[in-house]
Structures are given as C-alpha cells and as structure tokens.
C-alpha cells in the first residue's frame, strides 16, 4: 500500500494561471459577456467588476469624472472602460504584455 501511495500521489498544484481576456458587466456588476477562461472563478470576476464600478462612482463623488481606468499590478494589468453605468474590463497578464 505504501508503494502504491508513492506511485499515485497527487501531483503538486502549481499557481493558478492568471486570467487573460475581457468581460463586460452591467451597472449592478452582473457579467454580461466574458472571454476569461472558466479556470478563473466567477466570484473573482464579480469582485473585480464591483470594485471597478465602485471606483468609477467614488471618483465622480470626489470631483473626478473618469471614463477609463488602468491599474498596474505586479503580474497583471487591469483596464476598464465605463459604459453607461456598466463597464468593459480587460485583464492582461504582465508576461503577455512583455511578449507583445
């Protein structure tokens, strides 16, 4: 049994691949269209969309009317375009950007 365990032990899980693609959301943060692989959780996309919409709204309240937002993370670039209360959001991993 000990031998079999060693033969069939589950492979070590690497980091989840970073999402790449775009998605659109309505004004309530619900996803309308999406090209992001399903390996990236839908909850994660909803978190992103809700935050982006809130940032657009809060910016307006701070006296700054924004139509585009680009956020640079260490491994990801997030770009969002405001669309009638909703938004179109692009996710581009840093490696993909360097390859372009």
């Amino acid at each position: 049994m000990g031998l079999l365990k060693n033969l069939f032990k589950p492979a070590a899980r690497g980091p989840a691949p970073l999402p790449s693609g775009s998605f659109t959301v309505d004004r309530s943060g619900e996803i309308i269209t999406c090209t992001i692989p399903s390996s990236f959780s839908r909850d994660g996309l909803k978190d992103i969309s809700k935050l982006v919409l809130r940032v657009f709204k809060d910016a307006k309240e701070a006296g700054l009317v924004l139509t585009e937002l680009a956020v640079n993370f260490g491994a990801m670039k997030l770009k969002a375009r405001e669309m009638r209360g909703g938004a179109m959001i692009f996710l581009t991993p840093a490696a993909a950007r360097k390859n372009k």
């Binding site: 994660g44 978190d47 935050l51 940032v55 009317v65 585009e68 640079n72 260490g74």
Partner: protein, 379 residues
C-alpha cells in the same frame, strides 16, 4: 426703410438675419454689401433710425443687430437699452467713431456683444465682418450670455474649460491687452510692450476693465507653453507676494520645508511655484500623499485636496486587497482618464503621488509629465 437683398439660393435652414442701423445711407449700403458676402449667407436688412429699427425688430426676429452709436433723436445706447430688454437673445454690435473708453465700458455694461470703432480701412472692415460672422455662428451654437460680472480669471477659465479658440481683448483705461486661447489652452498674450507670460501676468493684475471676445487668428504663434491652470496660480501668487511683506518671503528655506513637511512654514503653492510645476505643459495639479496619515499631504493646484486624497488612498487600498485575493501581485499605481482630466497615481517609497493633467494630454506625454513632476519634487 427695409431691404432684403440676398441673392444666394435658399438653403434648407432659415438664413440668419442681420439688422444694420445707421443714419448714413452710404455707410449702410457699404456694410450691407459686405455682409451679404459672409459665409453664413445672411439676410441683411437696414434701418436709418432707432425707432425704425425697433419697429422692425418687433415685426420679425433677427440674429444680430449692428448699430451706430451716434444718431439723431435716438442714439445707439438708447436703442440697445430697449433691445436688451425686449429681445435678450439678439446679438448686438455697436460701431462708433468715438474712442471714448468710458463709452465702451458703458456699452459693455449694458450687455452688448461687441464694441468696435468704425472701420477705417479694408483690414478693419474685414475684421468687423469676421466678428459678425462669429456672432452668427455663436448664435447658431446657442449658449448663455451675460457674464459681465465675472472676473478675468473666471473668463479665462471658462474659455479654457470649454476648449474654444478665441482672442480675449481686455481694455483697462488706456491700456489694452490680448490673450490668445487656442483649443482651451492659453498660447499667447500681449499687453503694451510685453508679450507671453509677462503680458499675461500684467493683464491679470488689472483690477477692472472691459473685455470682448474676438475670432481666433489662424496660425498665431505659441509663446506660452505652461498650462492655464499653472499660469493662473503663478499670477495669483505673484500678486499675493507683491502685497505681502517681502521679508517673509526672503526667509524661506525650500529644501528644509520639503524634508520636513509637517513643520512647514511656507504654503504648498508657494513651494511648488518655485519648483516650477506650473510650467510643465498640461499639468493641472499634483498631490503627495504620505503613507503615514499623521503627516500632512502636500498639494499644488488643488484648493480642497482632502476628498481627492481620500479617494486615491481608498482606491489603492481596495485594489491592493483585490490583487492579494486574485494573486495579481502588489499594486504599483493606476491611471484614470476622463474627458477633461487625466489622473496618474504612482507609489514611490512611503509616498503616493497623484498628478492631474488636462484630458487632452497624450498617453506618452502623461508618462513624461509624471517623470518631470517627480524629478522636480525630489530635487
């Protein structure tokens, strides 16, 4: 006496209508012939006295009234008084043989659109035609009127924010100045024997006067490259300094103030004016937000920086949480872009820098401007 003599074919839109008022029939005939050639193809009607003009205005609507000032029985100002009350939308031009500044100021205070001396040569006549055409065009575009009570700073901001191209002619007693605004940017100024930024500051130092907007001169060379926001701040600061006790300014140690923001004794605006941030093209404001909230933030070009700083900090914090959750890595900064403004936020050491720029600034220029601001800040 009325006459409509436009021979050009009828367009689908109703033609604009001009009413010319002068007691000299020869002058009327000349102006009428000239105005019929305007690009907007107006109908040009003429009247030889104030009462006739008012009767005509009652009978039908006009877009522009061009009136002589000195006329028997009823002078131009009397006509304007009635016209402004009964026909507030009518654009009005006063032509005068007088160079009396008091009369000019009085006419503008009544709400006329343009006060001009009667043309003495072909160039001046062409200029008058350009002005009338510009008024017809602005009538077509619509908009509000009646900004006589606004200050010169308000006027410049209005012109720049609306992104227009125009020449502001400002008269202060015998002094006369011009400010050229092209696509919402101040590109040049002239006053007496000075030009560029020096002239701009001189004009802004005038306490009172009258102004008129003239059509932009095509191809006018650019002599001012700083943003209008920076220019206005610089000018305001120069005026403040002129009033202040000079000894208070002589004692400023800028480098010490930068290193000890919490103990600063000099205003932020004063510091950044010295640093020359206003001279970076397109930069409207800059904000340095220390990570430690007990340290006061430094600002330039923002009256009330609190809400902006709070929004920047909250946004960074929320995106950082998102980055951690989704494994995107640590946040390095962000950029927001709107029609009127671009905001670039970057993190340098223990500070966050937010630089606001005009919405017309290109993406490449944004990077360069941020670099320049950070360099000047650091130096």
């Amino acid at each position: 006496m009325t006459e409509s003599t436009n021979e050009l074919p009828a367009a689908s839109e109703p033609k604009p209508k001009i009413l010319l008022l002068d007691d000299d029939p020869d002058v009327l005939a000349l102006y009428q012939q000239m105005m019929l050639q305007l690009p907007s193809q107006p109908e040009v009607h003429i009247a030889t006295s104030g009462p006739i003009a008012i009767t005509m205005l009652e009978a039908e609507s006009f877009n522009v009234l061009v009136s002589d000032l000195q006329m028997p029985k009823m002078d131009g100002l009397q006509v304007i008084t009635i016209v402004r009350r009964k026909h507030p939308r009518l654009r009005t031009v006063i032509l005068s043989g007088l160079t009396d500044e008091q009369m000019r100021a009085r006419a503008y205070s009544m709400g006329i659109d343009l006060y001009m001396e009667k043309p003495g040569n072909g160039k001046e006549l062409n200029f008058l035609m350009d002005c009338v055409e510009s008024l017809l065009d602005s009538e077509k575009r619509g908009g509000f009127r009646g900004i006589q009570s606004k200050s010169l700073v308000d006027l410049i901001q209005l012109e720049c924010l609306s992104g227009t191209s125009t020449v502001l002619k400002i008269t202060n007693g015998k002094a006369e100045g011009k400010i050229w605004v092209e696509n919402g940017e101040v590109i040049d100024a002239s006053a007496d024997d000075s030009e560029g930024e020096e002239a701009f500051k001189r004009i802004l130092s005038w306490k009172a006067g009258s102004f008129e907007t003239l059509p932009m001169e095509a191809g006018h060379p650019r002599k001012i490259t700083a943003s209008y926001h920076g220019l206005l701040l610089d000018s305001a600061q120069t005026m403040d300094e002129a009033k202040a006790d000079s000894s208070a300014i002589d004692g400023i140690n800028l480098s010490e103030d930068l290193n000890a923001a919490s103990n600063t004794t000099v205003s932020d605006t004063q510091f950044f004016r010295k640093a020359g941030l206003g001279r970076i093209q397109g930069v409207e404001f800059a904000l340095k937000i220390p990570q430690e909230r007990s340290i006061p933030l430094q600002k330039w070009g923002l009256e009330n920086a609190g809400p902006m700083a709070a929004w920047v900090q909250d946004t960074l914090s929320q995106f950082q949480s998102l980055g951690d959750k989704c494994e995107f890595g640590s946040i390095q900064g962000f950029e927001g872009r709107g029609v009127q403004r671009v905001l670039h936020v970057s993190m340098e050491g223990a500070n966050t820098f937010a630089v606001g720029m005009l919405g017309t600034v290109s993406r490449e220029q944004v990077e360069q401007n941020v670099k320049k601001v950070l360099e000047r800040w650091a130096s």
